[in-house]
Amino acid sequence: MADHQNYIHDHTHSNDHATHPDLDGHTLSDGEVWEAALRELLLEKGVITLPELNDQMNRTASQSATFGASIIAKAWTDQKFKKALLANPKATIADLGHDISTMPDLVIVENRVDVHNVVVCTLCSCYPRYMLGPPPEWYRSAAYRARVVRDPREVLIEFGLNISAEKTIRVYDSTADLRYMVMPLCPPGAEHTPVKHLQTIITRDSMIGVGLPRLP
């Protein structure tokens, strides 16, 4: 538990973090006031406890796209696994020993030579956090949500990704109950590379569809 306490201390500069976390002299923004007020009320009412809050912050800090990349890398090198993963992602990932039963449903869309996929959540910012870690700021932005469904090609160019006109671009709109992620194309020849190395080239952005795997 001590490391959890340290975790919150790292961010607060105060020993009485339960009630006064950010009192370093700056005037609190509206959001900071709301956060402090909500947290204090939830703690006072016993809805949440401080250890639970710290544990959750630790869990979130431990999530990253490395997990999603390891799954994609395995699929690239194991056709049987890939088939199962695309057909039934959650069950196939659970079979590897990961407990994701409480997580929203997941669909993995495979890029093809003639089809590039990209993911958005236009209504909210739904994102497969347990696969990719916390969503980047731009994924949650109004600009990305509004624009990528209308003109994906142009938006992808802004991300430095020029998809040839012959390729179809499909935009998948995630929801609170069902989240999409992309299985990027394996760079030619890379399927014989060890999984451990492969997963380092599979970037977060390549699994959202706004990037490609880094060339080995």
Partner: protein, 131 residues
């Protein structure tokens, strides 16, 4: 498919919910929102990290206290101005507070009083630091 002209007319009547942004670039522009996508990686600030943790703790991925759909509904009821003006976490914080009041976790009176207390504590701390 909605064309731009239709999107523009929506901007004026605003029959859509504030959250329904897909394809409505003109709607953003009409509200003065930057249409450029900033690719800067923005690490969460400490208060955003705590807001994020509370959101997950309360949601169905955590304690199931406030259903994620209820939380979405709360933020989808914001005015277009509020929805677009508020940052991601401020939107969730406002929605979480609204739902806690709605479901009786705490009263509106307690919420107002607690916010006031936080503001006063902040002012007192500022005074201590400047003294």
């Amino acid at each position: 498919m909605t064309d731009d002209k239709q999107a523009k007319s929506h901007t004026h009547v605003e029959t859509r919910g504030a959250h329904d942004l897909g394809g409505f670039l003109n709607h953003l522009l009409a509200h003065g929102i930057d249409a450029r996508i900033s690719r800067e990686e923005m690490p969460k600030t400490p208060y955003e990290e705590r807001a994020d943790a509370m959101l997950l703790l309360l949601s169905n991925a955590g304690k199931g206290f406030l259903n994620i759909h209820a939380m979405r509904r709360a933020s989808e009821q914001f005015t277009h101005e509020d929805y677009l003006k508020l940052s991601y976490y401020d939107r969730w914080l406002k929605a979480m507070a609204a739902l806690c009041i709605e479901t009786g976790v705490f009263s509106d009176h307690e919420w107002q009083a607690k916010k006031q207390q936080v503001i006063l504590q902040n002012k007192a701390a500022q005074k201590r630091i400047s003294d």
